[in-house]
C-alpha cells in the first residue's frame, strides 16, 4: 500500500520506494529506505508531514504514493 493512503497518526514500516530517479535517491537520503519505521503526522491538501528518523519531513502526495509500506 502507498504511504499516501494511510491515516494520520499511524506508523508503518517501509517496504520500498518505487521508480528509479533523483527523487528516489533524495528520499532515501532523507531516511525513506526499506525497513525504516515512519509515522504520518499530518496531511495538508494531499501533502504529508511524515515522522522519520526522529524529525519531520514534508513530502508531496505524488512522492508519498511511491513509498510502499
Amino acid at each position: 500500500m502507498p504511504l499516501s493512503a494511510m491515516e494520520i497518526g499511524t506508523k508503518h514500516r517501509i517496504k520500498g520506494v518505487t521508480g528509479n530517479d533523483a527523487a528516489r535517491k533524495r528520499l532515501e537520503a532523507l531516511g525513506f529506505v526499506e525497513g525504516m519505521e515512519v509515522e504520518i503526522v499530518n496531511k495538508v491538501a494531499g501533502n504529508l508531514i511524515v515522522g522519520v528518523l526522529g524529525s519531520r519531513v514534508a513530502v508531496c502526495g505524488a512522492l508519498a504514493a511511491r513509498i510502499m509500506v
Partner: protein, 833 residues
C-alpha cells in the same frame, strides 16, 4: 590551515561557525540558509581558517548546494573536517557522517545540541560512538558555547595527520567484497586516501563523481560485472543497496550508543503547533493573517511603523524632537501658555495664514486704481489706520489632507474653515512668533536642522548649501527615514524564519505552487525576496530541478523587497492614507504575478512539464533567541543603510548636479529646474511613460534612477518635487502627481506598480545573470520583468481611467488588447511533455 564545517541542514553549523570565528553570520531555522561557503578565522589562531559549508544530507549531490559542498571537500581537500551532528536527531545525521568518513580526510564528530539531548533525558555513549566510527567524538552546545573551544582544539589536533586505513565496516559481506575489488582496480588511477570513496562512487555509478575523479573508462567497464552480480544477489540497484545498508549500519550503532528516555511523550509541542498552522482549512488564512500583521506593524496608519517613521523624518532627521516623557504644555508666559507643542505650531500656522491674507487684502485696497508702475508690492512700514480698519480678510485654514499639517489654502472646496480677519486680529497675529520648542520640553535638534544651522553659521555659499542640504542630505534622509519600517519588516520576517514557521509556509504554498508548475520550495526564495532580491535569487540554488530554478529566479523578485517597501510606504503615506489595504495588496499582486506568470511560462516550450516533487525537512519549532533575531535583522538593516551611504549618496549628489545645471553648465535657480539637464534627459524618454500616466521628465527621472536601487525612486521624487507648492515633501509629491495627470491617484498607483514590478535593481539583475549561468536566460528574465511591469502599470492607469470616467482612447484599446493577449497566454492549452 583549513578546517571545513560539514553537517546536515539546521544542525547548528552556522551557530558554531559564529562562535568559533566571532562573526555574526545569519542563522535560520530552515534548510538552505547557507548557500555559499563562508570563510572565517578561528579566534586565537590566525593561521586557521574555518569554512562553513552549505548544509547537506548526503554527498550524493541532488541540488546545487550539495554540489558546492562535495566539490569543495573532494577537490580542495581541507586539512580536517569538523562534522557537526544534531544529537537530538542522531540517526539522520550519522548518514552524512558515514559518507564523510569515506573521504579519507582527518575528521572529528561534534555532537551538537547536547543540552536538548540532556533535557529530553536521552543518553549518548560518546566512547562507543567514537570507537564505532573510528574518529574522535566530542559533545557540544553551539548555542550555549559549551564545548566549542574543546572541539576546535580537538580538530586542530587531528588536522593534517594521517587517517587510519580501515574505516568502519558499513556494508554487508558481498558489497564489501565488490568494493574491495573495485578499490584494487582503481589502484594507481586515484589517490590512495580517496580510494574507498571513489570505489563506492563507482559502485553507485555516480557519473558526476566518476567524471570528477577522472576514472578511466576501461576500469568502469571492468568492474561493471561485479556491480551487476551484487545487484542480482541483493535484488536492488547498486545505489539503493548502499543507501539501505548505510542506514542499517547506523541503526546498529544507534542501538548500542543511544539510550532513549522513557518519559518522552508521543506528540511534541512542535507537532501540536503543526496541527494548527498546517491545518487543511486554517493554514492559508493563518499565513495571510501573519502577512497582514506584518504590514500593520510596518505601514498601517497609527501603527508603530508610521509613528516611528514620522519621528524619524520630522524629528530625528528633520527639525528635531522632544525627549520622551519630557514633553509638556508651555509654562512660560506668552501667547502659547498652556498649549501643547503641536497645538502651538498649529496656532502659529493659523496666525501666519491670517496675517498674509490680511496683508494681501490691505495691499489690494491701497493699490486700487493705481497704474501698474506705482503699485506697492511690499507691506509699507507705516500702516494707514483709517484704511486698515475697513479691511476684513477671509482667512481659510484647513488641515492638509495627506500630511495632517496645517496649511492655508485659498480654494478649498472641502468644507473650508473660514474666519474673518480684521485689523485687530491682524495686529494680534503679528505678535506671534514661531513657538520655541525648548519651552515645551527637552528639545533635541534633528540632524537636518543641525546641518542647516551649521552651514548658516559657517556662512557658506548658497549653492554649496543647496548641494548639501537639498541634494546630498535630502536624498539620504529620505531613504534613512524608512529605516524604522525596514527594521520592523525585517524583525518580523526574522522572527518567522527563526522560529521555524517559514519551512511550513513552503509546505502550505506547495499545493498552490504546484498548480502552475512550481514546488513549494520555490516559495522560500520568494520569502527571502521580501527582504532583498539578491539573496532571493541565490536562495534558488536549493531547488534541485534546473527548470524550476530558472523559473523561480525570474519570478522571485516580483515580491516587493525591502527597498520596494520604501516606495510602497511613501505612496501609502502620501496618496493612500485612507486605504490601509494598498500595502498588503502589493504583496498580493506580487504573488498573483508569480502565479499567473508561472502558469504562462509553464505553457512555453522551455518550461513545460511537471514540477519536481516536493520534499523538505521541517525543523522543530523553537522560540528564537533575542540575539539571533537581532543579528538577523541588523545584518539586513545594515545592508540597507550601507546602500543608502554608498549608492544613494553619490546618486543624490549626481542627481542634484544634473538638476541644478543645464547643458551649458549654467547654475540654475530653483524655479528654472525645467531647464536642467535632468529635465532635458528625462524629457527624451518621458513619452515612454505617457501611457502610464507619469509621462513627465520627473516621472521618467525617478523611474530610471530606481534601477540604481529601488528606494532611489523616493529620493528622486523628493528632489524633483521640491519645486512644487506645499509645506512638506508629501505635499510636494502629491502636487507633482496632480500636475502630471488629471487622475493623480491613478498615476501614483501606476508609478508605484511600475517601479515595483519592472526588473529589480542593478545588483539583483547582475546576480540574476550570474545565477542563470547564461546571458540569454539573463536577458529573458529582464525582458519578461520589463514587460510585466509596463503592462501592469498601463492596465492600472488606462483601465482605471476608463472606470473613473476618463474616456476611451487609443491607449485604452492597446491596454485591453495586451491584457487579452496575457490572458490568452495564461489560459491557452498547455504543451504536453
Amino acid at each position: 590551515m583549513k578546517i571545513a564545517l560539514a553537517g546536515n541542514p539546521n544542525s547548528g553549523k552556522t551557530t558554531l561557525f559564529n562562535d568559533l570565528t566571532g562573526s555574526s553570520q545569519y542563522v535560520g531555522n530552515w534548510p538552505g540558509v547557507t548557500v555559499e561557503k563562508k570563510d572565517g578565522v578561528l579566534s586565537g589562531h590566525k593561521d586557521v581558517i574555518i569554512q562553513d559549508l552549505p548544509g547537506i544530507y548526503s554527498l550524493s549531490p541532488y541540488s546545487l548546494e550539495e554540489v558546492v559542498a562535495r566539490n569543495y571537500l573532494v577537490n580542495e581537500k581541507p586539512d580536517a573536517i569538523l562534522n557537526i551532528v544534531d544529537g537530538s536527531n542522531l540517526e539522520r545525521n550519522l548518514y552524512l557522517t558515514t559518507q564523510l568518513l569515506e573521504l579519507g580526510l582527518p575528521m572529528i564528530v561534534a555532537v551538537n545540541m547536547i543540552d536538548i539531548v540532556r533535557k529530553n533525558g536521552d543518553k549518548i555513549d560518546l566512547e562507543r560512538l567514537s570507537k564505532a566510527l573510528g574518529c574522535p567524538v566530542i559533545e557540544i552546545s553551539a548555542l550555549k558555547g559549551e564545548g566549542t573551544r574543546e572541539a576546535a582544539e580537538l580538530v586542530l589536533s587531528v588536522a593534517g595527520k594521517g587517517v587510519k586505513e580501515d574505516g568502519p565496516h558499513v556494508f554487508s559481506g558481498s558489497v564489501e567484497h565488490a568494493l574491495a575489488h573495485i578499490e584494487e582496480s582503481l589502484h594507481g588511477a586515484v589517490e590512495k586516501a580517496t580510494s574507498r570513496w571513489a570505489a563506492i562512487k563507482v559502485f553507485e555509478r555516480d557519473v558526476k563523481a566518476i567524471d570528477m575523479l577522472n576514472v578511466p573508462h576501461d576500469i568502469i567497464e571492468h568492474v561493471e560485472e561485479h556491480i551487476k552480480d551484487c545487484e542480482k544477489e541483493m535484488e536492488d540497484d547498486a545505489e539503493s543497496i548502499i543507501t539501505t545498508q548505510r542506514y542499517e549500519y547506523i541503526q546498529r550503532i544507534i542501538g548500542s550508543v543511544f539510550k532513549r528516555s522513557l518519559r518522552r511523550t508521543s506528540a511534541t509541542l512542535s507537532d501540536k503547533i503543526d496541527r494548527i498552522v498546517t491545518h487543511r482549512i486554517l493554514a492559508l488564512p493563518i499565513f495571510i493573517l501573519s502577512l497582514c500583521a506584518m504590514w500593520w506593524l510596518a505601514v498601517a496608519e497609527g501603527g508603530p511603523g508610521t509613528k516611528l517613521t514620522d519621528w524619524a523624518n520630522d524629528g530625528f532627521l528633520g527639525d528635531g524632537w522632544h525627549l520622551p516623557f519630557t514633553a509638556h504644555e508651555c509654562r512660560a508666559d506668552g501667547l502659547y501658555k498652556g498649549m501643547e507643542f503641536e497645538d502651538a505650531k498649529g496656532e502659529f500656522a493659523k496666525q501666519e495664514a491670517s496675517k498674509s491674507k490680511w496683508e494681501e487684502a490691505y495691499l489690494e485696497k491701497i493699490n486700487e486704481g493705481k497704474p501698474d508702475g506705482e503699485k506697492v508690492e511690499k507691506m509699507p512700514e507705516k500702516i494707514d489706520e483709517a484704511i486698515a480698519k475697513t479691511i476684513i480678510a477671509k482667512g481659510v485654514f484647513v488641515e492638509d489632507e495627506e500630511t495632517g499639517e496645517p496649511v492655508a489654502k485659498e480654494d478649498n472646496e472641502d468644507e473650508p474653515d473660514l474666519w474673518d480677519v480684521d485689523y485687530a486680529a491682524y495686529q494680534k497675529a503679528t505678535e506671534y512668533e514661531e513657538p520655541d520648542p525648548s519651552a515645551f520640553g527637552v528639545w533635541v535638534p534633528g540632524i537636518g536642522a543641525l546641518i542647516g544651522d551649521g552651514l548658516e553659521k559657517l556662512g557658506v555659499n548658497d549653492t554649496v548649501k543647496s548641494l548639501v542640504v537639498d541634494g546630498a542630505w535630502g536624498g539620504v534622509a529620505t531613504v534613512l527615514g524608512f529605516v524604522p519600517i525596514i527594521c520592523l519588516v525585517f524583525l518580523f520576517l526574522s522572527f518567522l524564519e527563526d522560529c521555524g514557521y517559514m519551512a511550513r509556509v513552503a509546505l502550505i504554498m506547495d499545493r498552490i505552487f504546484r498548480r502552475f508548475g512550481l514546488s513549494g520550495k520555490s516559495f522560500i526564495p520568494m520569502i527571502v525576496g521580501k527582504g532583498c532580491g539578491v539573496p532571493a535569487v541565490m536562495a534558488a540554488r536549493t531547488i534541485e530541478s534546473e527548470r524550476d530554478r530558472r523559473m523561480t529566479i525570474i519570478l522571485a523578485t516580483f515580491i516587493p523587497c525591502g527597498a520596494k517597501t520604501v516606495i510602497i510606504a511613501m505612496f501609502a503615506a502620501v496618496f493612500f492614507r485612507d486605504m490601509w489595504y494598498v500595502a498588503p495588496l502589493m504583496d498580493v499582486i506580487g504573488i498573483a504575478i508569480i502565479v499567473l506568470g508561472g502558469i504562462a511560462l509553464k505553457k512555453s516550450k522551455a518550461f513545460a512539464g511537471e514540477a519536481a516533487p516536493f520534499m523538505m525537512e521541517l525543523p522543530a519549532y523553537h522560540m528564537p533567541t533575542w540575539r539571533g533575531v537581532m543579528i538577523h535583522t541588523w545584518n539586513r538593516v545594515k545592508g540597507y543603510m550601507f546602500k543608502a551611504g554608498c549608492i544613494i549618496f553619490p546618486a543624490c549628489v549626481l542627481l542634484w548636479f544634473v538638476m541644478h545645471f543645464d547643458f551649458k553648465f549654467n547654475l540654475l535657480e530653483d524655479e528654472q529646474i525645467a531647464e536642467s539637464m535632468l529635465a532635458t534627459m528625462g524629457g527624451w524618454i518621458a513619452w515612454l511613460f505617457a501611457p502610464l500616466g507619469f509621462g513627465t521628465w520627473q516621472g521618467a527621472a525617478a523611474s530610471v534612477s530606481a534601477e540604481i536601487a529601488k528606494e532611489q525612486a523616493t529620493a528622486t521624487l523628493g528632489l524633483v518635487a521640491a519645486g512644487m507648492d506645499g509645506a512638506s515633501t508629501a505635499a510636494h509629491v502629491s502636487n507633482l502627481f496632480a500636475s502630471m495627470s488629471s487622475f493623480p491617484k491613478l498615476a501614483a498607483m501606476s508609478f508605484m506598480v511600475f517601479n515595483l514590478f519592472v526588473p529589480p535593481c542593478m545588483v539583483a539583475i547582475a546576480v540574476t545573470f550570474r545565477e542563470m549561468g547564461s546571458k540569454a536566460w539573463g536577458w529573458f528574465a529582464v525582458a519578461f520583468q520589463l514587460f510585466v511591469g509596463y503592462t501592469l502599470a498601463l492596465s492600472v492607469y488606462q483601465l482605471g481611467m476608463l472606470i473613473a470616467g476618463g474616456g476611451f482612447g487609443v491607449w485604452t484599446a492597446i491596454a485591453i488588447l495586451v491584457d487579452l493577449w496575457c490572458l490568452w497566454m495564461i489560459v491557452r492549452p498547455g504543451r504536453s511533455e
